[in-house]
């Protein structure tokens, strides 16, 4: 039995995993990172547009602070977010940006004096303060009151990933590449690491660790039309679900990005719209102001994506041989801007469409983009159900994003959560709970069980093909569990997915091959992805309301009275055909920002009786504190700093505020 021991096992080599690994390593823990691919290839690299942090350096960012960022994030989440977590996040984001600046990220900087920008299709001249010259600048993104998105042209994720990855190399943290965690080692109460498959030679080994952190990103590949990389299959979340005791939360909360190029599904950044790009229909008409007169193209992603789909259904889509789409027009931004700030977009348009976006419109349609749901954790990133198991980044439901994530908040979450969760992992390892007594029999049993699964799969004599079943699942998810959902279709999707599960037990491979066997890998992952798809579809079928990205045409209202709660999906018995759902209340009584209207989208939520009570309390606290400084008011409303590691609690300096 091949066993490797470490203090901390981080599963996933993207931004969240790398940053958490660094935090734990700096606290003296021995860390190993597992990654499907070399870390710099991770999907984090694809984040183009930017990272939200309320630095407030620019003319359009003046007056920004944690309070404004918090309000935007909670409204964006359609009140599904954990508000304590949102507070921890907005407070730490400026620190994360500044740390990354020190680590070499070439953030775009403020240039003093006048400069022209496009706002609402008009050329506007902004004047940047002398005092701000050379500080980190920001661009506009959807769903925010201020220009808050810090960026590196449109290669923000790439620049961040390379800087953080280089830091892990400097820290000497080993990355075991082309390795996939296939099961967690656990006894039902404590996690002891993972069984790991080498994707190059197919061999299994056991990684025994005092703490295990899953940071494997999202599961967009359960959808056909997705902006996600091909490695985003959600296996990290699936192996947590398969423990039977760890729940996945809010799996039905799936975000669709408004502007994926059609039909390839490759993302073009929200920065296009943030910088002044427009959406147009078959007639060249700019339609978003008709639906959203306030925020237009810059309403939150769920709202824009839904308006686009409705507009296409109303017969206003343009057509090409692959189907219907709309147009993204960035020609008005000018060649110079596109060549410097939107260069990836230009390259993508050139290579995949053969067009020049400075002269031609880009065909776009919404595609699956982000999974708000994931492994349910507490504010420190500790997973429910198993001691010693942590999660962060898109794989987790920490729950910063609730039912809709704002653009620029996900790359920010990766590093911020990594900073916080990595410290919590180190705390755990340093505490008595971090001590570990694991029997070799348990490790061997887990390894043998995984071996048996692979052996059975590769010996299968059935006639089904994994690739075919995968495509059928992806089609069901896109067609029936997509942007607009409806009870009957969801029920049919759940049935169809269950039939696929049965068929997936009849897979036959083309033959047994030594070394890497891509066909076996696909067949094995399919089983996991079907479970995730069922969690999404079943959760969506049961949630009879519309909230954020989860839109039910048969229940179009947000229903706080009955549904202000988080879905928890468990899979306690491998043989059961569906996940078991439970619900966790979001307590309005503790909220800093009780439910209300988001400032865009529909305005007809079914109110919870506790909302008015809490609002009255908040009004009284604000009246009592009067002119007190904003930190004192915030602390009286909902204290959160005690949840952060001590070194992350300090106030953030701004040009007009000292730290």
């Amino acid at each position: 039995m091949d066993v490797i021991h470490t203090d901390v096992l981080v599963i996933g080599g993207g931004l969240a995993g790398l940053r958490a690994a660094l935090a734990a390593k700096k606290r003296g823990q021995k860390v190993i990172i597992l990654s499907l691919v070399p870390p710099k290839r991770s999907h984090s690299a694809a984040a183009q547009g930017g990272m939200q942090a309320s630095l407030g350096n620019t003319a359009k960012g003046a007056g920004d602070n944690e309070d404004v960022h918090f309000g935007d994030t909670v409204r964006g989440s359609d009140w599904g977010a954990d508000q304590e977590v949102a507070r921890m996040f907005v407070h730490t984001a400026p620190k994360a940006v500044r740390e990354l600046a020190a680590w070499g990220v070439p953030w775009n900087r403020v240039e003093r004096g006048p400069h022209d920008v496009i706002i609402d299709s008009q050329k506007v001249t902004l004047n940047e303060a002398d005092a701000a010259h050379g500080l980190i600048t920001a661009r506009d993104f959807g769903g925010t009151k201020k220009w808050r998105t810090c960026y590196v042209s449109d290669g923000t994720g790439h620049a961040m990933l390379y800087a953080v990855s280089d830091q892990t190399i400097a820290a000497g943290i080993p990355v075991h590449e082309r390795m996939e965690a296939v099961a967690l080692i656990h006894d039902g109460t404590r996690c002891y690491g993972a069984i790991v498959r080498n994707l190059t030679n197919g061999k299994l080994s056991a990684y025994v660790a005092r703490a295990t952190c899953i940071a494997t990103g999202g599961f967009g590949r359960i959808y056909q039309a997705t902006t996600n990389a091909v490695i985003n299959e959600g296996i990290g979340a699936a192996i947590a679900l398969e423990t039977g005791v760890v729940p996945l939360a809010n799996m039905e909360a799936v975000q669709f990005h408004p502007t994926a190029i059609f039909p390839a599904g490759i993302l073009v950044t929200e920065g296009c719209r943030g910088d002044g790009g427009l959406l147009r229909d078959v007639d060249g008409h700019r339609f978003m102001p008709d639906y959203e007169p306030e925020k237009k193209e810059l309403a939150s992603r769920d709202v824009v994506a839904r308006r686009m789909e409705a507009h296409i259904r109303a017969g206003k889509g343009a057509r090409n041989r692959f189907g219907e789409h709309l147009w993204l027009d960035i020609t008005l931004l000018g060649e110079a801007h596109i060549n410097s700030k939107l260069r990836e977009v230009k390259e993508i348009c050139h290579h995949f469409l053969g067009i020049d976006p400075a002269k031609q419109w880009i065909p776009v349609r919404p595609a699956q983009h982000y999974s708000m749901g994931g492994i349910r954790t507490n504010a420190q990133g500790a997973a429910y159900g198993l001691s010693g198991l942590f999660a962060c980044g898109e794989a987790a439901c920490w729950d910063l994003h609730g039912f809709n994530r704002l653009g620029g908040n996900s790359v920010a979450e990766t590093v911020v959560a990594g900073m916080i969760v990595g410290e919590a992992i180190a705390d755990f390892c340093a505490s008595p709970a971090g001590d570990m007594h694991v029997s070799t029999a348990l490790v061997r049993d887990c390894l043998e069980k995984a071996e048996a699964e692979f052996t059975a799969l590769s010996a299968g004599q059935g006639t089904e093909k994994a690739g075919q079943l995968l495509r059928e699942m992806q089609a069901i998810m896109t067609e029936q569990v997509g942007i607009v959902r409806q009870g009957e279709a969801l029920g049919a999707a759940v049935d169809a997915l269950q039939k696929l599960v049965l068929r997936s037990r009849q897979i036959g491979l083309g033959g047994r091959r030594p070394g890497a066997d891509p066909e076996l890998t696909t067949a094995w992952r399919l089983q996991k992805m079907l479970k995730l798809a069922l969690c999404v579809a079943r959760g969506a079928e049961q949630r009879c309301e519309s909230r954020g990205a989860h839109f039910r045409s048969d229940y179009p209202q947000r229903n706080d009275a009955d549904w202000l709660k988080r879905t928890l999906a468990y899979w306690p018995d491998a043989a059961q055909p569906l996940p078991s759902l439970a619900y966790e209340e979001l307590a309005i009584a503790g909220m800093e920002l009780p439910p209300g209207w988001r400032g865009y989208g529909t305005r007809d939520a079914i109110e919870h009786p506790a909302t008015a009570i809490r609002q009255a309390e908040i009004d009284a606290i604000r009246a009592r504190l009067g002119e007190a400084d904003r930190h004192a008011v915030q602390d009286a409303l909902m204290p959160f700093r005690h949840l952060l590691p001590a070194h992350l609690r300090g106030n953030n300096a701004r040009l007009d505020e000292s730290a």
Binding site: A101, A102, G104, R109, H133, S153, Y162, Q360, P363, D517
Partner: protein, 252 residues
């Protein structure tokens, strides 16, 4: 009206494409490197990503290749396309003839078929060249960030855009002869950190890393790297600049 795709006239039948792919599975002692032909029908907007996945799904489930982002951002899918290094994900079949030869990038350790271990080599080079910001000052998380001239930040990003795909190494004459040569990817990284004022290393420090034939003096100026870089990094300029800088250090 916007011209979306260069359309094939409706009357014209779709092309049959023949892919000759270099097959070898090092894990199988019986495997010998050989070209294997696959035929598929071309579709509109088909990239090598789409074509290879179709071949694997319908003809040979054992075919090994690497894709991650499939959008030209991550650098995973570099391979030799008709003998020239490039990113397979963003290579459209319509830009190629009907006979397409695919082979793994040379120089890197072969994992199987079109898959090579660039990650191992890149990590090794990073460790050798210490490609991270060297600065002992503690990071002040709560304070305003250090200022930087906007054009300098953009200049650093220009060099930071490297995606470590390995094309430059595959296109390099020196790398084929000198196993430890750091190549354009390594030299570009040094240029990037050399340009960055946050890195406190001196020219003499950089000379220690690249001031020899495995570094900047090994380059024969054939400029294959510059020609094949999918990100069009200014490699030629940077290597020439570094050589001049390092020559001064070496002579002083």
């Amino acid at each position: 009206m916007i011209k979306l795709f260069r359309r094939t006239p409706a009357s014209q039948a779709p092309r049959r494409l023949t892919f000759s792919i270099l097959r070898h599975n090092p894990a199988d002692p019986a495997s010998r490197p050989q070209l294997q032909d696959f035929e598929i029908e071309e579709a509109e907007g088909m990239t090598l990503f789409i074509a290879l996945n179709e071949i694997r799904a319908t003809q040979d489930g054992s075919l090994q290749f690497d894709f991650v982002c499939r959008a030209g951002i991550c650098g995973s899918c570099a391979m030799l396309v008709n003998g020239r290094p490039g990113l397979a994900c963003r290579t459209l079949t319509r830009d190629l003839g009907t006979q397409i030869t695919l082979a793994p990038l040379p120089f890197f350790e072969l994992i199987g078929d079109l898959s090579v271990n660039t990650g191992k080599w890149m990590r090794g080079t990073s460790e050798r060249l210490q490609t991270w910001i060297h600065n002992d000052a503690p990071v002040r998380l709560d304070a305003l960030e250090e200022r930087m001239a906007p054009e300098l930040a953009e200049g650093i990003y220009e060099l930071d855009r490297c995606i470590e795909c390995g094309c430059c190494i595959a296109g390099c004459g020196t790398a084929q002869m000198r196993e430890k040569f750091v190549g354009a990817v390594g030299l570009n990284k040094i240029a990037r950190f050399h340009l960055d004022p946050r890195d406190t290393r001196s020219d003499a420090d950089f000379y220690e890393l690249i001031g020899d034939d495995d570094g900047v003096f090994g380059c024969m100026s054939l400029l294959g790297c510059h020609d094949v870089c999918p990100k069009q990094l200014p490699l030629q300029t940077q290597i020439a600049y570094l050589r001049r800088k390092m020559a001064i250090v070496g002579l002083s």
